[in-house]
């Protein structure tokens, strides 16, 4: 078996684990929970093997030495590494806090990332490195950025759980915020699932299309489907908003306290923030300085990294302002991850789209 079959196994395992964790949330049967954890661990081991094999394959191909062949050279490999860090972080939290309810909130992020890999049509091939990318600073930069993103993803999940647990009234801003975020998130996951089934499983289009993302919904050639997608999105958000209190009831039964969630959110950010500062900003700047002679050039990716950094600095400082404890701070934490994800993929997908004359579609 080669690395791609192990990647395949881990993808299936994580998607399954996501479904089982959600079922577990609904039924709270210990056996289901154990099954979910087991499958996650199987996926994690398989993914670890896959990364190690790809590392070796890359080393054999490039002949640039073992340390220069870390498989972190393109969007695909970085996504895989992100998922790996996220699952590792999640497993640590599950074992430390002995509570599986987090699973239903963390694994969907992994699911979203994996779905994105498949339908965005990003290249999965191993390419030798062009000269600009042959730098140890770059390697440290990418690796640490993704460790930080994974830590931020955890804080996103626990921040969201905190909001679910502490808000009740439907007209409360915290409640509206989390239902909107969760509704959007569920919808994106769902639409990407549809993209996958229509273009990979059911109809295989005869013309080659690189990216399938939202082809079955927002970007469909048919206006009717486009409008329908937006309506469906609205509808899902409204449904989550209307029946969100059920989720709170479910969560209450797990006996996880709001303080614990706040603590995990803070701790994840307390790890993610320094790692992001050093790896994401400083090492990135050193690399740019070595390669191009400018440590900072205000390009969209750099600027968005800085914005992400400010949002988390905002989080850390807002905890110190009296009267900002709890919900408001959790909203900042959740927003932080949305911004971080925009920095990671949104800048490439949307801003480069705006800046180029042709559309990327």
């Amino acid at each position: 078996m080669d690395s791609s079959s192990f990647f395949g196994i881990s993808t299936i395992a994580y998607i399954l684990a996501m479904i089982i964790y959600i079922i577990y949330l609904a039924f709270r049967k210990t056996r289901i929970g154990i099954a979910a954890t087991t499958i996650t661990i199987v996926g994690f081991i398989s993914q670890t093997l896959a990364i190690a094999m790809r590392w070796k394959e890359f080393n054999d191909l490039s002949g640039m030495g073992f340390l220069r062949s870390v498989p972190l050279t393109n969007l695909y490999e970085s996504m895989i590494f992100f998922v790996w860090c996220l699952i590792l972080g999640y497993l640590i939290i599950e074992f430390k806090y002995k509570n599986r309810s987090f699973g239903a909130f963390v694994t969907p992020i992994a699911g979203l990332a994996l779905a994105f890999i498949d339908i965005s049509g990003m290249s999965k091939d191993i390419h030798p490195l062009v000269p600009a990318l042959q730098s140890n600073w770059l390697l440290a930069h990418v690796m640490m950025s993704f460790i930080a993103y994974a830590a931020f993803a955890l804080s996103f999940s626990t921040g969201l759980m905190y909001l679910i647990l502490t808000t009740e009234k439907r007209n409360e801003s915290g409640y509206i915020f989390w239902t909107f975020i969760l509704g959007t998130f569920v919808m994106l996951l769902f639409l990407m699932g549809i993209d996958f089934f229509t273009f990979r499983v059911a109809v295989k289009p005869d013309v080659f299309i690189k990216s399938y993302m939202f082809r079955a919904s927002f970007l469909n050639p048919s206006i009717a489907i486009k409008i329908l997608s937006w309506i469906a999105m609205m509808a899902i958000i409204v449904i989550v908003w209307r029946y969100g209190s059920f989720l709170k009831m479910v969560m209450d039964k797990f006996g996880i306290s709001a303080e614990t969630l706040d603590e995990i959110t803070y701790k994840s950010i307390a790890v993610g923030f320094p790692v992001f500062t050093l790896g994401g900003l400083i090492f990135g700047a050193i690399w740019a300085d070595q390669a191009w002679g400018t440590y900072w050039s205000w390009d969209p990716k750099e600027t968005w990294s800085l914005i992400t950094w400010f949002v988390y600095a905002f989080y850390l400082h807002s905890r110190m302002v009296r009267g900002w404890r709890g919900k408001k701070v959790a909203i900042v934490a959740v927003t932080g991850f949305v911004v971080a994800m925009f920095t990671y993929v949104g800048v490439n997908l949307l801003l480069s789209g705006l800046h180029s004359y042709g559309d990327i579609k």
Binding site: V130, P274, G293, W298, L354
Partner: protein
């Protein structure tokens, strides 16, 4: 009266700048304006941004919006006065906030720890109790060694029923936040120094050429201006950088020349840089570049003082000016020198430099070759005819005609990247080493005296963040009091961060004490 009012106003401003709320507002403002700056392309042609705006707001609104945004400075916003103001407000905020809080923090850092009264010890956040056998003096020695083992220095004081031991560790970590904050200032100061005292330039340098200047910008010029710029550059290049001899050549006085150089962005280096060679290396037989290399020589005061082969990620630095491998290209209408390595079947190799059409002899034989043709990027089409498939030197090749004893023998392409084509049927080899003088290396040139301050700031920030997040100020009190036949030990502790880790440490101390007691039996 007037005085009073004034003071309160300044106080208000001071309080505003000392508040974290204001910091949060500034964070938000910098972020939100930066978002706009990433959507609009900075320093771009107006048409580009009008197109971006019409994608978002529609065709009809775009030109008006463009004008508005342009007026406010959004088309080059990171250099606009208001963005600069935001950065200055941000710095002022950090400075004032730190000044405001530093005395209190400093007190916490310097304050020696003192024993706690019984009531106070009741109230600390971490508390443990245990009873040990034996006299307080003996128990005290146990406790001291256990606490020292955990890395704390111990101070002791006598109390009426026994002793109190107390200790603190990491009080300096309270400064971590301030170290982080001052690093931000350092980085901003370094950046400003770079902007005001440094320059960024570009230099396309053909193989074999040298230049004492670099070009700072490429503003659009009128035809006469462009002509004048070219004249000045030529004069400088031919006089190898001497201002006086260039001004003589141009018939311009020195000050006029300096002013013109400034106008056209011609920046003297203070020394001369020469490109000896440039080469691209590819992966295997593909067109995927593996390395770009320039062989550079620095000439200062007429002497060669430094030679370095640079590549991407591996620049050359001399006298605080750094040269980066940025691009490359072909020099228009250049006649290059072909460099061949000729090895007779039984003989030593010989390097030859030849022009197009020039003849050479394989020594010891009557074989004679002539270079007939050259291709930058040789390939063959479906009919087998030679074609050049790229603009750059992706696959350079020479076509050589061979004669023996004056008679036509054979001819063919010899490819630089495919040494196998160098073998002749008789066993001689004619290798195509390089064609020299047809490519230029594109150097990014930078002088930035502030970069070290920026780096220092980065290091300080890393240290500061490490202290702020991963270290804590821990305090520990142990009260040892005699009871009937035994000794009561009360441990109290506080920490400003990461309480769980400290509790684990204290539990370890307690286990150690109980174990010692077991061992005593």
């Amino acid at each position: 009266m007037e005085q009073e009012k004034n003071k309160t106003f300044i106080d208000k401003i001071w309080d505003l700048f000392a508040s974290v709320k204001f910091a949060i507002i500034i964070f938000a403002l910098i972020s939100l304006t930066s978002v706009v700056g990433t959507i609009l392309e900075q320093k771009a042609e107006p048409a580009k941004n009008i197109q971006i705006l019409s994608k978002i707001f529609g065709e009809s609104l775009a030109p008006t919006l463009y004008n508005i945004f342009d007026k406010i400075g959004f088309m080059d916003m990171y250099h606009s006065w208001w963005f600069l103001t935001l950065l200055i407000l941000f710095s002022a905020n950090i400075v004032i906030c730190s000044i405001e809080r530093l005395p209190r923090i400093w007190k916490m850092v310097r304050e020696p720890i003192s024993p706690l009264t019984e009531e106070h010890l009741e109230k600390v956040s971490i508390k443990r109790e245990l009873i040990l056998r034996g006299k307080p003096e003996k128990v005290k020695d146990f406790v001291i060694s256990a606490i020292k083992g955990a890395g704390f220095k111990v101070i002791e004081s006598k109390e009426d029923k026994g002793y109190q031991l107390y200790s603190q560790k990491g009080s300096f970590t309270r400064l971590g936040v301030y170290i982080t904050h001052s690093s931000i200032l350092l980085i901003l100061i370094g950046a400003f120094i770079g902007i005001f005292l440094g320059f960024k330039g570009f230099l396309p340098l053909p193989e074999g050429m040298s230049s004492p200047v670099v070009l700072l910008h490429n503003d659009s010029l009128t035809q006469t201006e462009a002509h004048e710029k070219e004249m000045i550059l030529n004069a400088i290049w031919t006089s190898s950088g001497s201002i006086s001899s260039s001004s003589a050549t141009l018939g311009m006085d020195e000050n006029t020349l300096k002013a013109k150089m400034h106008k056209y962005g011609i920046q003297p280096l203070g020394f001369t840089i020469r490109c000896d060679d440039f080469d691209v290396y590819f992966y295997g037989s593909s067109d995927l570049p593996k390395e770009y290399k320039s062989w550079l020589t620095v000439i200062d005061g007429g002497k060669e003082v430094l030679k370095k082969t640079i590549g991407v990620n591996d620049p050359l630095a001399y006298k605080s000016i750094t040269f980066y491998q940025a691009s490359y290209g072909m020099v228009p209408n250049a006649q290059g020198k072909f460099i061949l390595r000729i090895t007779p079947k039984s003989g030593a190799p010989e390097i030859k430099q030849l022009n197009l059409g020039e003849r050479f002899i394989i020594s010891g034989t009557t074989m004679e070759g002539t270079i007939r043709d050259f291709s930058r990027a040789l390939s063959f089409d479906k009919q087998g005819r030679p074609i050049t498939y790229a603009e750059m030197m992706n696959n350079p090749a020479v076509f050589i005609d061979f004669k023996e004893g004056g008679k036509e023998k054979y001819s063919g392409w010899i490819l630089k990247r495919h040494p196998i084509t160098a073998k002749l049927p008789e066993g001689h080899t004619v290798e195509f080493i390089d064609i020299w003088g047809v490519q230029y290396t594109g150097l990014q040139v930078r002088k930035d005296p502030g970069v070290w301050i920026v780096y220092l700031g980065c290091i300080v920030m890393s240290i500061g963040l490490f202290i702020a997040f991963f270290m804590s100020h821990r305090k520990l009190w142990v009260r040892i009091a005699e009871e009937k036949n035994s000794t009561k030990v009360i441990i109290g502790a506080t920490t400003n961060k990461n309480r769980a880790a400290f509790e684990r440490k204290i539990n370890k101390i307690i286990t150690l004490l109980s174990k010692k007691q077991e061992g005593e039996k």
